[in-house]
Symmetry: C2
């Protein structure tokens, strides 16, 4: 036990950067783009701003780049900048609200990768509103990996006429690629899930791409979606009870759970005989278990539809038509349901058939799965994802697709939730929770039936033409 | 930024227990067995003891169990018990020595799952040597998830005549299963990688299984394998320099890197012109880069073969013959090589053909992959593992296997390393580092050629018999 040590989160991830998704040169750079873009989208939307991002990627040498990423979000107050960029497990997205980020790791991971491959500090400029005026600071930061804290090497005030964050990072051992796993394809896919955003990207050749806004409507802001009685666990109740400032357990229930009215609380007290007026800290485990067992038997309204914000049928079809030029397209967005823990989620799916649907692998056109989570494209770890598992479990022959692997078909699936159960801190695949698998199947089979109709009609028309 | 929070590791994993592998009822219980068994094996071996584990699993109700796990290892000193079982990212295996554990999460994860599903504390009895005498304490512990610390609810001294650790944990929402993913199959596979160990397992029906020792020889203790110049990064040198107590950079090099002699250091100083006598903290990043670039061009002896301890050809074949009764078996253990960071690893592989090789899926016999890492069976996340990817990339037709998916074949692969690059904290799949993929292919193709010979001879004999 002389070797016994406690690591900080940053020490652990330095040893295991593949768990942040930094595995391989192409993937590593794509993940950097992913973490910075998702942060800028989250920040702008939260402030009611239509997101606009400028990305400049310069190639200094083989596998050696400088990335400048700037957004038009609300900025980061000076006192939070080091925590945001140099502390792991630090962030503002641990609450019950749908957001792309949820771990407090993303941009600190990018700073860590930059530092590990080049030894250079990160340069951050943040312009934010303070007392009605715009204040801006330019800071040069290093992460102290041993302590999971940031060190400010330089800091100065600068002028700014609008809010936003700009970060400049150097990287080595990463590679910009136009392949399916590369940063360009990531940006292209992210526009499908985020038509209200604009990205201006200057690539290493100097070519400037402008990914225009397809919509000027800011999507409604997601609202807090409290844990639902269907699925909330005894541990959740006890954990909430331990850390609440509410004085009575009953007010904890009505304020912390979705669809929990005073009427329902009275029913629960009546049936279980547990005094729900007592202090939260006095609630016992076995009592919490009985309450949760009763929840499972009671009728509660489904989780509210307004808290979660899907991409929506219209935009999914629009996006698929735009990039795939298919002969057939269909999509659907389901109602919210919950998975274990009472966490609400929505599955939406789209199918495109024919035209440029599917993707070319050599000479062969193959079926393609486009996975999204909270509007963010998932590029990697397809094999282990619940979305893939759900889709593969469907009997596609029933819907007229005899050889699914080689069909000219693209299937689009997006999961929207306040907490996406990712399989790893790399956030590229979803855990196969039974409720999620079920929803992926149900949602997709619903629109597969529409495809089946189309294929039958097409076949009938063909036979008719042959006569 | 009022919502800005910093989570502790335990808070993060409470929200994301699927990242500890606790996803699904069967898998969750199997992972508990895995974490406790690997800890007991590591501890006993480190103390030069032949491991013996007693496991008692009682079923109290549907999906409700009590697990008692005790070992004959050196025990845990009283002052470390709460850190071991209630603090995440705390452990003794962060050094450059091959061990099954490497994250400081395993048993704390089990305590967390137990607490989350039952609200019950963990009961730990630890008997350990102190000043030549055996001291034993029985402690009742709870994890304070908010602070990543343990709380001792009760503690008392007890009598013990030999050292070891015993833990008793209650679980709900888990399931004991005889299926391939269940705890019993996990124990069976772990015996293949650990023939020198003994496990006595009393299952929920009361049936007592005795998994006997197949060998009375304790495997040699793994030795520290320092990072190798081939692959060590500039960041590694700078990080080591920042945290060393050595006074000169040159002594840091000779003491921290494998195969680094004074003669080599003088060569490096000569060629780069960098003064290696200076203090480690004065080494600059660009200088470290030049040193590392020079390493890549120099000749160094391969990493030492003695530090890493593979299962070995003899035992792999013995294990495969015992459980698969094949008509053909072959295996090989390769020399150590390094992946990025200069981390040494060894790949060993075995092929069994015919007999009970492969596994039955319904009526169909299918090819089976048995993946191991540091002698530990990997049961889950097969789709995303580097071992799977490496094996799938082989053209099996060249070796006489026309339809690999449906061949009566079992392929065994074990990776041995001081740091296995797992894809997630669930530790069930390995990251596809190029050097690892290469070695998996090379090692397997070597024995596939032996299989090819056998199949040809078999075919020739058949044709001969037909005449
Ligand atoms: N461009 C930005 N503008 C404003 N705030 C930002 C920006 N980028 C990051 N932040 C803030 O910094 C926090 C940390 O970001 P980080 O990416 O590390 O974690 P996250 O987005 O919360 O979760 P994840 O690890 O899943 O990405 C965010 O929660 C947000 O509060
Ligand atoms: N049965 C045991 N006997 C002796 N020491 C033990 C035992 N179990 C755990 N330990 C000690 O407690 C530490 C923490 O164990 P834990 O399983 O949490 O992490 P780990 O084994 O180091 O890594 P991993 O998370 O990969 O399993 C170990 O490193 C070891 O020092
Ligand atoms: Mg983020
Ligand atoms: Mg362990």
């Amino acid at each position: 036990f002389e070797e016994f040590q406690e690591l900080t989160a940053s020490e652990f991830f330095r040893k295991n950067k593949q768990m942040l998704g930094f595995s391989g040169k192409i993937r590593s750079l794509t993940i950097v783009f992913h973490e910075l873009i998702t942060n800028s989208f989250d920040a702008a939307e939260e402030a009611g701003i239509l997101p606009e991002i400028k990305i400049d990627l310069q190639r200094l040498d083989k596998d050696h780049y400088v990335l400048k990423h700037s957004d038009n979000g609300p900025g980061i107050p000076e006192d939070y900048v080091t925590k945001v960029f140099c502390t792991m497990f630090a962030g503002s997205k641990f609450r019950n609200i749908q957001s792309r980020g949820q771990q407090g790791l993303g941009c600190s991971g990018c700073v860590l990768l930059s530092q590990m491959t080049t030894g250079k500090p990160a340069k951050v400029t943040s312009a934010y509103k303070e007392n009605g005026k715009i204040k801006a600071v330019e800071m040069v930061l290093k992460m102290d990996v041993k302590t999971n804290q940031g060190l400010v090497l330089e800091k100065r005030e600068v002028e700014a006429d609008k809010t936003g964050v700009q970060i400049e990072l150097h990287f080595k051992d990463v590679s910009y690629s136009l392949s399916e796993q590369g940063a360009y394809e990531y940006i292209r896919r992210t526009m499908i899930g985020n038509p209200h955003s604009k990205i201006i990207f200057r690539d290493p050749t100097g070519h400037k791409y402008i990914f225009k806004r397809a919509s000027d409507v800011i999507p409604p802001l997601p609202k807090e979606v409290l844990p639902h009685p269907k699925g909330v666990t005894a541990d959740d109740l006890i954990f909430m009870a331990k850390h609440t400032d509410k004085r009575r357990f009953r007010s904890l229930l009505t304020s912390s759970l979705s669809r929990m009215s005073t009427k329902r609380v009275n029913e629960i007290q009546e049936i279980t005989g547990i005094d729900l007026n007592k202090r939260p800290k006095d609630m016992q485990w076995d009592e919490a278990e009985r309450i949760v067992e009763l929840f499972a038997k009671m009728d509660f309204m489904a989780p509210p539809t307004s808290g979660l914000i899907p991409i929506g049928k219209e935009q999914i079809e629009k996006g698929m038509i735009e990039i795939l030029n298919p002969e057939f397209v269909a999509s659907t967005t389901r109602k919210p349901v919950t998975y274990r823990g009472g966490v609400a989620f929505i599955i939406e799916a789209g199918i495109a058939y024919g035209g440029d649907s599917g993707r070319m692998v050599g000479e062969q056109r193959k079926a393609e799965i486009m996975r999204f989570a909270n509007r963010v494209p998932l590029t990697f770890d397809q094999g282990s994802c619940a979305i893939t598992e759900g889709l593969k479990s469907i009997d596609w022959k029933r819907y007229g697709i005899r050889d699914m692997d080689n069909a000219p078909i693209t299937i689009f699936v997006n999961i929207v939730s306040t907490q996406v159960p990712y399989l790893s801190t790399g956030k590229q695949s979803v855990a196969p929770e039974p409720e999620i698998l079920h929803e992926v199947r149900q949602t997709t089979m619903k629109i597969a039936r529409q495809l089946q109709k189309y294929l039958r009609a097409k076949k009938a028309a063909k036979e008719e033409a042959l006569r």
